[in-house]
């Protein structure tokens, strides 16, 4: 039985996350764990007091004050979280998901994801969350953190779900790309879809061989595969392909380079997720 983890927040991506999760169950009986993390409590809730004095029994007073502030805020976020999860659960059940587990947790998102991850086959998350700047099309900050921290494939949901007929594997011969090919070749979810596998770069015998091997592996898994090797800038070529061939889903290895390098020269992964308006499955 497939086990999915769907990360939900208050953004409009949450509905799409549910729909993508339903697609990922492929109609088979599956368990979807809906996870909403309330996050670490910030200090912003405290009233400003720079008096620098200690009044009589100031410790107890301060504790009461902070506790009651957190309490009222905690109740609010808790109620909101419940509503979000209930809506998502209803959506999933309606779509025929066999079992939905609802989890509302306090704490850090990454720590929580890692806690539940061992019991999960695929994580579903939206491209952007509540905190992201939609106008600039920036990606949610949690997305990269989850993908980098997690050892499981991550399905990044686009803004709205569209039926998936054709998917493209961006193949660079790396370890994570091989992981992606293995996963797809053995997963019934992809068996009925049209598969294209694309390597962008110089046409060397080595690259050609790796691509052919991957394609062979996919064919052995029963997929209908079109393999191509094109020269050019990876992100541009892939984005063009996605557009011109009407690709519905992109599969790729993610964040092959260190954070520092990404910080300086930018990350291809981030650029791909951002520029292609379709869902992406990431492997690391």
């Amino acid at each position: 039985m497939t086990k999915l983890m769907a990360l939900i927040d208050g953004s409009i991506y949450s509905q799409s996350v549910c729909d993508h999760a339903v697609w990922a169950t492929a109609g088979a009986p599956a368990t979807v764990g809906l996870l909403h993390v309330l996050g670490r409590r910030g200090a912003s809730s405290a009233p400003i007091n720079f008096s620098g004095t200690l009044v009589v029994d100031g410790r107890d007073q301060l504790l009461d004050e902070l506790a009651s502030l957190d309490e009222s805020q905690g109740k609010l976020t808790q109620r909101r979280g419940r509503i979000l999860l209930d809506q998502a659960k209803a959506r999933l059940l309606e779509a025929g998901v066999a079992e939905v587990k609802v989890r509302l947790r306090n704490g850090d998102l990454i720590e929580t994801v890692l806690e539940f991850e061992p019991d999960t086959d695929l994580i579903v998350i939206g491209k952007r969350g509540e905190a992201a700047d939609f106008a600039k099309l920036h990606l949610g900050s949690n997305l990269e953190r989850v993908v980098r921290a997690s050892g499981k494939p991550v399905l990044v949901a686009a803004r709205a779900f569209r039926p998936i007929k054709r998917f493209l594997i961006a193949f660079d011969g790396g370890v994570s790309a091989m992981k992606a090919v293995d996963h797809i070749a053995s997963n019934p979810l992809y068996a009925e879809l049209e598969c294209q596998i694309l390597t962008v770069g110089a046409d060397t015998p080595n690259a050609r061989k790796q691509l052919d091997d991957a394609a062979a592996l996919l064919r052995a898994g029963g997929l209908d595969v079109q393999a191509e090797l094109l020269a050019g800038q990876p992100d541009m070529v892939i984005a063009n392909r996605v557009e011109s061939r009407g690709i519905d889903l992109l599969v790729m290895g993610a964040y092959g380079h260190s954070r520092i390098r990404s910080l300086i020269i930018g990350s291809t992964t981030t650029e791909m997720i951002r520029s292609c308006m379709i869902p992406v499955v990431l492997f690391r």
Binding site: F50, L66, D108
Partner: protein, 496 residues
């Protein structure tokens, strides 16, 4: 897991940048008078306390285990240095500070932070009350045999400190107290003791220097007793403060890392000419109250402190001591747990005795470590006394009156042995005696010996003695209850 570590590190440092910087500023302003006052207690130049506060605050910000906690030169450690400084001088104090750090690092490495669980609530309350009293007592030299004007200045300062927050909470009222009193004393040309009279202030950034002492065993024997006491008190106050900050912010902390952090901070502080310190309860509360939560707040407090002192040294030395005394009285009042006085009657008498004993011992010895030790011992004894009451001996006599079965239930250990022995009737003439201990817990060697005594006594009276259920009862006698490897063992242990 590396990723979790990084994300936590980021949160601890940059989770609350604005709040941390502002709170650091407020704390730095409050730290200056305290650092000067505690230097005065220890009998060294204010510069020693100020360098120490800078160095300790900055280093614990990086290596400490409790983000948002403020550490610096403190009263608790300063009172322990008085005789050392008087008899041997500053260089020995610096060497002691380094040794304090080494001892604390060792304590952290040995995971002594977990020993804090034996320090009960009452002992902690006693500790803070005693600390408050010590801080207040340290102000007395500034309040005795002084012109009447000083009292007026202190009263005025206290009025500003307590009344100004009723009007505005945007500016630190201790700062206003210092500004107003300094302006008054300069403007009116009042003849008052000022910070300048207390000794030298820092004029440069701290520099690395080795304590100028002979490196031999004799030196070690001089500084070791001081260093151990200071290390113990420093750790106690730091761990207690960490717990208070844990409670206030509802976040966990790493107590053993805090021990090591305090040690590293003290070690380094000895080499830049500072005195040993530890976490400060009052300042940490002020920090949280001002919105400080992360490591940045402690770092900012230290850096701002140094900037103020070096940059404004000419002004700082004009501050009348009366202003500092007023602030220290405020700290003392704020540190004291007044509700504990009200609760004296409400709480169980044993708790109140523990609290009062801790306070009394500290005030007479000026050593918080001894006070805490006495408090912990007393609470242990009281606890043993309470548990000893969970004990019952019943018996049934056979029809013919020739044999009796005793049923032992409850906790048998050193404190309940007397009651255990007294409950048997050795005068009764019996042929057989059965002692059923299957519903008792035998905790230690004292209870085994007591059981032996009972058996021997009955035998001497000519009875045949049989003990039932000894195996179950003595499962508790080993030091580590090996309950983890048998499912349901805890239930079985608690049931019989």
């Amino acid at each position: 897991m590396n990723f979790v570590f990084l994300s936590r590190l980021k949160f601890e440092w940059f989770g609350n940048i604005r709040g941390d910087i502002l709170a650091g500023l407020v704390v730095a302003l409050a730290l200056i008078p305290e650092a000067i006052a505690f230097s005065v207690i220890a009998g060294v130049d204010p510069k020693v306390g100020l360098y120490a506060s800078f160095s300790i605050a900055v280093i614990t910000a990086v290596v400490g285990g409790r983000p948002g906690m403020i550490s610096a030169a403190t009263a608790a450690t300063a009172v322990l240095m008085v005789t050392l400084v008087r008899d041997y001088g500053l260089q020995y104090l610096l060497a002691t500070t380094v040794l304090v750090g080494l001892i604390q690092i060792a304590a952290g490495a040995l995971r002594l932070g977990t020993v804090m669980r034996f320090v009960s609530r009452s002992v902690m309350t006693g500790f803070v009350n005693a600390l408050a009293i010590l801080i207040f007592l340290a102000q007395l030299p500034e309040l005795t045999n002084v012109p009447l004007l000083t009292y007026a200045m202190v009263a005025g300062g206290l009025a500003i400190i307590y009344l100004l927050p009723l009007v505005t909470k945007v500016v630190p009222s201790p700062l206003i107290c210092i500004l107003v009193l300094t302006a008054l004393s300069l403007g009116l040309g009042l003849d008052l003791r000022t910070v300048e009279d207390m000794g030298r202030l820092p004029s440069t950034l701290p520099i690395f220097l080795l304590p100028d002492i002979p490196l031999n065993l004799e030196t070690l024997w001089i500084i070791l007793p001081y260093a151990s006491a200071i290390a113990a008190v420093g750790l106690l106050e730091s761990l207690m403060t960490a717990q208070i900050v844990d409670e206030l912010t509802d976040t966990p902390s790493d107590k053993n890392r805090e021990c090591v952090g305090q040690g590293v901070a003290n070690c380094a502080t000895g080499f830049v000419g500072g005195m040993a310190g530890c976490a400060m309860i009052g300042q940490s509360v002020i920090n949280v109250k001002s919105g400080g939560r992360g490591r940045l707040s402690s770092l900012c407090a230290g850096v701002f402190l140094l900037i103020f002192c070096v940059g404004l040294g000419d002004w700082v030395k004009q501050i009348p001591m009366a202003a500092l005394v007023a602030i220290m009285i405020m700290v003392s009042i704020g540190t004291f747990s007044w509700s504990s006085v009200r609760d004296l009657k409400l709480h169980p008498r044993s708790s109140s005795i523990v609290m009062l004993a801790t306070v009394a011992v500290v005030v007479t010895t000026h050593n918080l470590a001894i006070g805490v030790l006495v408090g912990v011992l007393l609470s242990g004894i009281f606890f043993a006394g309470k548990i000893a009451q969970i004990f019952r001996l019943t018996s049934t006599l056979s029809q013919d009156g020739a044999s009796r079965t005793y049923f032992v239930e409850g906790q048998v250990f050193f404190a309940s042995v007397d009651g255990f022995l007294a409950a048997f009737d050795f005068k009764e003439v019996l042929e057989t005696v059965t002692i059923d201990v299957s519903r008792a817990h035998i905790w230690d060697i004292s209870s085994v010996a007591a059981l032996d005594t009972v058996v021997l006594k009955f035998r001497r009276e000519g009875a045949i003695v049989e003990i039932v259920g000894l195996n179950e009862a003595s499962e508790t006698i080993v030091d580590q209850l090996a309950i983890h490897d048998k499912p349901g063992a805890l239930e079985r242990l608690m049931a019989h």
